[in-house]
Amino acid sequence: MNINATLILQSIAMMIFVWFCMKFLWPPLMKAMDERRERIAEGLAASDRAEKELEAAKVTVDQQIREARDKAGEIVEQASQRHSQILDQAKEDAVSERNRQVSAAEADIAQAANQAREELRASVASLAVLGASKILEKEVDANTHRELLDKLIAEI
C-alpha cells in the first residue's frame, strides 16, 4: 500500500486511452448511430407519408368507383330506353307494313273483283245479245240496241 509513481503512470495510461477513445472509437460509433437514427426517422416519415397517400388514393378510388357505378346505371338506363324505343319502332314498322300489305292485298282483290265483274258483265252482255238473237231469230244490231244493252248490263 505504497503511494508511488504508479500514480503518474496510471494517469498517463488514462490520458492515452481517453485520447484513443476520442480519436478512434467515439466519432465512428457516434456517426454510425446518428446516421442510423436519421435513416430510421426518414423511414418512419416515409411510411407516414405512404399511409397518407394510401388514404388519399382510397378516397379517389372510392369516388371513381361511385362515378363508374353511376355511369353504368346511366348506361343501363339508356340501353333499356333505347331497347324499348327500338321495340316500339319495330312494332310500329311491323304494324304499318302489315297495314300496307293488307291494303295492297285488298286493292288487288278489289281490282281482281272489278275485273272479274267487268268480264262477267261483258260476257253477260254478249250472252244476252246472243240469247236475244236466238229468241228473236234475228240479228240484233248491237249498235242499234246499244242503249238497251247498256241498260241491261248495268242492271246485271
Binding site: I3, A5, C21, L29
Partner: protein
C-alpha cells in the same frame, strides 16, 4: 493456494495477497523487483507497481480493441448483435453525458466512456477467484500479483488526479484565471462592499479549496475503498474455507489435502460441459442427461458448499453489482465535476 508456499499463516496469506509486484530502486542502488513488502516500502515514491500497470494497460487495450472492431465496421445498416451491444453502452454513456453536461464538448463523452468501461473491466478482475492468477504468476516465478488495478490506491488516485487536472483546466479555460479565483474566493460568503470582500477572502478561499480538493480525493478513494473491501472479503472467504487452517475444509482434507485443488474444479467443469455437449450432439437422451447433471451438481455443489465456494458465489453476485455501480459512479461524478467546471457560478 498462495503461490505454492504451503505452510503460511493467515496473516501472511492476507498480506501476500495485498502486496503489489513493485519495481524500483533497491537501497543498494540497483533497480529491480521488490522481494518483500519491506523492500517495496523502502523503494519510496519512485517505484511502480508492475502488476497494476500491466493489468490496467492490458484491460485498457481489451476495451480499445473491443470497441475498435465495432467502430471500424460501424455503419448505419442493421447492426450485428455485438455491434448493438457496444452501441448500447455508447448510447448509455452518451445519454448520461447529455443529461448532466449542458455544454458542447468533443472530449467529455469519450472520457466518460473510457472511464466507465475501463474501470468496469478493472473492477471485473475482482470476480476472478483470488488465487487463480497469482497461482499462475507463481508458477511463472512471479511471487506477488495483485490482479485488480482498482484495489491499488495509486491507480484510482491516478485517475482521480487526472480528472482533477481536467477540472482545473476547464475551469480556467472557461472562466479565465480571474473568474476561477473569484469563484474560489467569492463564495460561500458573499459581500457587496469591498471591505466585506476582503474580510471574506480567506475563509472563502479555505472552504472552497477544501471543497475543490475533496473532489478528487473522494472520487479516487471511493472507488479504491469499495474494491479493496470487496477484494478483502474474497480473500477472507478463501482464507476461512480453503487456506491451511480452514475449519470446515478440515473435513475435506482427508480427500483433497489442505484445500480443494484447482484440478477438481477443472474436472468438474469439464464433466458438466461434456454432458451438455453430448446431449447437444444427440449422443445422450435428455432424461439421462438430466440424471447425469443432477449427480454432477450434487457432487460439485456439496463439495463447493463445504469448500466455501457458494459463499464466494454469493459475494461475487453481490459484488457484480458493486463493480458496475462503482464504475458508473466514477464516470458520473467525473461528468458532473467537469460540468461544474464549465458553468459560471
Amino acid at each position: 493456494m498462495a503461490g505454492g508456499s504451503e505452510n503460511i499463516t493467515q496473516s501472511e496469506y492476507i498480506r501476500h495477497h495485498l502486496q503489489n509486484l513493485t519495481f524500483g530502486q533497491h537501497p543498494d542502488g540497483s533497480w529491480g523487483l521488490a522481494h518483500s513488502a519491506e523492500e517495496a516500502q523502502a523503494m519510496g515514491f519512485w517505484a511502480f507497481h508492475v502488476d497494476t500497470m500491466f493489468w490496467a494497460i492490458f484491460l485498457g487495450l481489451i476495451f480499445y480493441l473491443l470497441f475498435r472492431t465495432v467502430a471500424k465496421k460501424a455503419n448505419s445498416g442493421v447492426p450485428s448483435r455485438f455491434q448493438a451491444a457496444i452501441e448500447f453502452i455508447v448510447e448509455f454513456v452518451d445519454n448520461s453525458v447529455r443529461e448532466s453536461f449542458h455544454g458542447t464538448s468533443k472530449f467529455i463523452a469519450p472520457l466518460a466512456l473510457t472511464l466507465f468501461v475501463w474501470i468496469f473491466f478493472m473492477n471485473f478482475m475482482d470476480l476472478i477467484p483470488v488465487d487463480w492468477l497469482p497461482w499462475v504468476a507463481g508458477q511463472a516465478g512471479i511471487h506477488y500479483q495483485k490482479v485488480v488495478p482498482t484495489t491499488d490506491v495509486n491507480a484510482t488516485m491516478g485517475m482521480a488526479i487526472t480528472v482533477f487536472v481536467l477540472i482545473l483546466y476547464f475551469s480556467i479555460k472557461i472562466k479565465g484565471v480571474g473568474g476561477f479565483i473569484a469563484e474560489l474566493t467569492g463564495q460561500p460568503f458573499a459581500a457587496n462592499s469591498t471591505a466585506g470582500k476582503i474580510a471574506f477572502f480567506l475563509p472563502n478561499l479555505l472552504l472552497e479549496t477544501i471543497a475543490l480538493l475533496a473532489k478528487p480525493v473522494s472520487l479516487g478513494l471511493r472507488l479504491f475503498g469499495n474494491l479493496y473491501a470487496g477484494e478483502l472479503i474474497f480473500i477472507l472467504i478463501a482464507l476461512i474455507f480453503t487456506a491451511g487452517s480452514g475449519f470446515v475444509a478440515a473435513g475435506l482434507s482427508s480427500v483433497f489435502g489442505e484445500h480443494i485443488p484447482a484440478w477438481f474444479w477443472i474436472v468438474a467443469t469439464a464433466a458438466i460441459f461434456a454432458t451438455l455437449w453430448l446431449n447437444l450432439k444427440g449422443k445422450l437422451n435428455t432424461k439421462t442427461t438430466l440424471w447425469f447433471l443432477l449427480a454432477e451438481m450434487l457432487l460439485v455443489g456439496g463439495i463447493a458448499f463445504l469448500g466455501g465456494q457458494l459463499m464466494h458465489f454469493g459475494w461475487a453476485v453481490f459484488h457484480l453489482l458493486v463493480i458496475t455501480l462503482q464504475a458508473f459512479i466514477f464516470m458520473m461524478l467525473t461528468i458532473v465535476y467537469l460540468s461544474m467546471a464549465h458553468e459560471h457560478h
